[in-house]
């Protein structure tokens, strides 16, 4: 991770040193290539160069297609052989208020203005529709406000105002994005406001080189686009680990006692810790997992969250490590307890020594230099976009409930004689069926987010899943699991392609929150049943090693498949299903 490419950005440094930064980043291992088309309504050369840095930093090696100057519309609508051959996996449409065809005139009536709005929105809709032939995500800028307003304040509330007009357009963009699963908005209206319009737009650069934003805003824009891309590709972070003393509250609970820590609304310091806790709570409520890693006696640490003004409660944390062990060991524990990779963690601690220890001892965990002033903490989480979501699925919001339920499940485990007894007591029910259209969103998300229980780590786009769902050449089943504690949601998928009389497993994944519940056996039973229904005689399984999927390297072996071929750690397996006997007897299916 290159700290120059994190908040707060040193934009002058990035612009000046971009070539040497790029040289360094190209040394990274495991860069994944992506074909990204930039369709620009203004000059995009430097946007492309700087975006490349941010993507390389995320482990993505972009190949770019760049439209000719201001040819975004032509490229989208009338096709282009170069673009077709390029086969984009992601399209970024870099437009701005400079691309508005016609703003309202002062003598226009309401009808005319509403038709001008329709003309604009229809133009973009036709662009998105036409680009849908590439079956890939489209990132679209919305509109920034004009720097100058001859109408002054009235510009924002008279229907003939440019500001008013742009607000209407932005609203229409939001509505379209709600309907179109492939459309993602790059909110430059927010970004330009955050940076300040007078810094965002550089008149001189516009007249000289037709850049619709200033040089110093380009890294901010590129950073923003990279956050959206990370989120689309499922490489956003999942869990926020926080320290307690002087991070979640002011003071040291073990020394100062519950009544003396700063939290609440009594003074400025207490209030700023409270708003930090509120921000964490918001993250938690939309699906980010929270965990504690603190050097404290457990009881003292728990007591802190019993403070009447504490926004966060002990139950808000999926893992709670409060002891005197070194923090990097606790963080490794947290990762294994929650069942996620350490590179899905962000660690927040006011103490630079702890930050150094963790970042130097565990490769991959994100440790922002948040300083020691609580007022800056939120900014470091928010501006870096670690947890950027592209949508709010019910599953995300409820994910934290699974972890809370899991705490209860773990507790109960100890009172049963055997693990099988415990599983039986869970009264598990599974729904294992062929893909249906209501689940396409969740299925796509799962294929892009699951790393550990993932045999092939093949990723799918929304459109690909849609196609598979209706194709007769695939066996495609999903699994949902409920137990007496609640609904775990849609947590497992198998996609097999049918060739001759064999079923080749292209994808087999399962969410880690249902590990060791025998769900994989239930899935295998159903897979075999579907294969038999189609008259198939053999299942071919593939294991492709990735950094994270070691836990399933022997899955097919455990299932009783025969090893056919191996290449390094990658293996190919087969199973004759004529005498197959069901393996699951704990989960009630369908």
């Amino acid at each position: 991770m290159n700290m120059n490419l994190k908040y707060p950005l040193d934009v002058d440094y990035i612009l000046r040193k971009k070539k040497s930064i790029k040289r360094d980043l190209l040394n990274k291992n495991d860069l994944k290539e992506k074909n990204i088309a930039i369709l620009g309504g203004s000059t995009t050369a430097e946007v492309k160069n700087i975006l490349e840095l941010f993507l390389l930093d995320s482990g993505i090696k972009p190949n770019f297609y760049e439209s000719e100057y201001n040819k975004y519309y032509e490229d989208a609508l009338f096709g282009n052989e170069v673009l077709d051959n390029f086969n984009p996996e992601l399209i970024y449409i870099h437009t701005s208020n400079k691309n508005i065809i016609e703003f309202p005139e002062f003598n226009d009536d309401e009808d005319k203005i509403s038709s001008l709005l329709d003309i604009e929105i229809d133009r973009y809709k036709s662009i998105w529709t036409s680009l849908s032939k590439y079956n890939c995500p489209i990132i679209q800028n919305n509109f920034e406000y004009p720097v100058n307003r001859s109408l002054g304040n009235l510009d924002s509330y008279d229907t003939r105002g440019k500001t008013f007009f742009l607000n209407q357009l932005n609203k229409r963009f939001s509505q379209e994005a709600k309907l179109n699963n492939q459309l993602y908005i790059s909110d430059i209206n927010y970004l330009s406001s955050y940076i300040g319009l007078k810094n965002w737009f550089d008149k001189s650069l516009w007249y000289q080189a037709k850049y619709a934003l200033s040089m110093s805003s380009i890294p901010e824009l590129a950073f923003n686009i990279s956050k959206i891309i990370n989120s689309i590709l499922g490489i956003s972070k999942k869990c926020l680990v926080v320290d307690l003393d002087n991070t979640c509250w002011g003071g040291v609970i073990g020394d100062d006692g519950l009544n003396s820590i700063s939290i609440g609304l009594d003074n400025a310091i207490a209030e700023s810790y409270t708003s930090f806790q509120k921000y964490l709570k918001e993250l938690k409520n939309r699906g980010v997992i929270l965990a504690v890693c603190s050097k404290n006696d457990l009881n003292n640490a728990k007591e802190g969250f019993m403070h009447p003004d504490s926004v966060l409660k002990f139950e808000d944390f999926a893992a709670f490590k409060s002891n005197w062990d070194p923090k990097h060991l606790n963080i490794l524990d947290i990762a294994s307890e929650i069942n996620i990779g350490v590179d899905s963690l962000v660690f927040i601690d006011d103490n630079p020594v702890e930050r150094d220890l963790v970042s130097s001892q565990i490769a991959g965990v994100i440790v922002p230099n948040i300083g020691d002033d609580v007022i800056d903490f939120i900014e470091h989480i928010d501006r870096n976009g670690y947890f950027e979501p592209t949508s709010l699925l019910v599953d995300d919001i409820e994910r934290n409930k699974y972890y809370e339920d899991n705490k209860k499940r773990t507790k109960e485990q100890s009172v049963f004689k055997s693990y099988a007894d415990f599983l039986a007591s869970l009264k598990m029910n599974a729904e294992i069926k062929t893909f249906s259209s209501v689940y396409i969103d969740r299925i796509t998300q799962l294929t892009n987010k699951t790393n550990q229980f993932n045999l092939t780590t093949k990723r799918y786009t929304f459109a690909e899943i849609e196609n598979i769902a209706i194709s007769a050449n695939y066996i495609k089943i999903y699994g949902k699991l409920t137990d007496k504690y609640g609904d775990n949601g849609l947590i497992s998928l198998i996609i097999g392609s049918i060739k001759a009389n064999k079923c080749h497993i292209d994808l087999w994944i399962m969410s880690c929150r249902v590990l060791k519940r025998d769900m994989e056996f239930a899935m295998l039973d159903e897979l075999v049943r579907h294969c038999k229904e189609k008259g198939l005689i053999e299942i071919i399984g593939y294991y492709y090693e990735s950094k994270k999927n070691n836990m399933v390297c022997d899955l097919y072996e455990k299932f009783g498949f025969t090893l056919n071929d191996l290449n390094g750690k990658d293996t190919i397996w087969s199973l004759d299903i004529s005498n197959y006997k069901n393996k699951n007897n704990l989960i009630e299916v369908n």
Binding site: R16, K19, R23, S204, Q208, A209
Partner: protein, 82 residues
Amino acid sequence: MTRNDVHGNVQEIFRDIFDKEDLVINDSTTSNDIQGWDSLNHIGIISAAEKEFKIKFALGELSTLNNVGSMLDLIIEKLKTE
């Protein structure tokens, strides 16, 4: 700031922009002498110089910058009037 100092700082900018640590420029260096000195990199040089010397070039001035010497002259003139 002497002309020599300005020359040194501008040379550093050129080295960063073109990612060549041993790049040497003199007054008569033009875009023909440096591979990659296109209009995009020209803008990069100009905006890096604006930040480095805390100056701002006017629109009309940019077209007169045909070689490194004229660039240095303009920077020195601006530094005097600051």
